[in-house]
Symmetry: C2
Subunit: 146 residues, 2 copies
């Protein structure tokens, strides 16, 4: 099964967070799992905020890319996923996220229109939810197409 | 004049976004400018979302670190800035941020208590505001001290 991000059109596969054509990036991969979409990611040792804990900006990045993939997940046709971009990102750091364990990012769409979707997400470490987030994903505007 | 992040205690200077002891990180530097706090950052070519535009996760990271520095800015004593951590981060992507120009991140505290501060921010490219954000910054909890 291919990751949703690997089904984006080639022109839109350079994202620092999740593009397979960005060798310097995080290359997040999100997969459909029933009505949810799941990604797993193990932060590098340098992705710290203070020693022992994951940098919040990385967590925001992971949920950002995961939300766009979740928005696209139900609109995949002919092995192509539509590209959404983030209009709003809201992240609540419920508790510090330990640096070391693999993280699970889980999302699902709660509202959808022709042009946009609202996605709710959690990030868990070792089964404990440490982050809750939501995002407004919109279809990529013409002005951002190359 | 030293950046606020360079006044964090050494134990808290490893942040991927702004720690001077994290050689792999973004090393954001925020400076007091009257009642505001300003940082300037030029994204690297690989910090893209789609070609020509800055990755939203990087923008979230920059405002995250800048908010913590802004919260600390009025509490610097003996050349030490207190370390805040992010409880909530809210980012509105008003328009795509062009990749190339130096960005200006500007923040100010709108509410403060003994334990936390609310910070509002903008990100501008070439004088145009592309991102509005706010954050709840809290004093670092004992559980995160090493």
């Amino acid at each position: 099964m291919k990751a949703i991000q690997d089904l984006y059109p080639d022109d839109f596969s350079h994202c620092y967070g999740c593009g397979h054509r960005n060798g310097a990036g995080h290359q997040l991969k999100s997969f459909i799992d029933g009505t949810d979409v799941i990604a797993r990611f193990t932060p590098a040792p340098h992705h710290m905020s203070v020693p022992g804990f994951v940098y919040g900006g990385l967590l925001a990045s992971l949920v950002d890319c995961h939300a766009m993939a979740t928005a696209a997940s139900s609109e995949i046709t002919d092995s192509l996923a539509p590209r959404f971009v983030t209009a709003v990102l809201h992240v609540e750091y419920m508790k510090p996220t330990p640096l070391g364990p693999e993280l699970e990012i889980r999302g699902h769409v709660t509202e959808r229109s022709a042009r946009k979707a609202i996605v709710e997400m959690t990030v868990s470490a070792g089964g404990t939810v440490t982050v809750r987030a939501n995002a407004v994903a919109v279809r990529i505007p013409k002005s951002m197409e190359s």
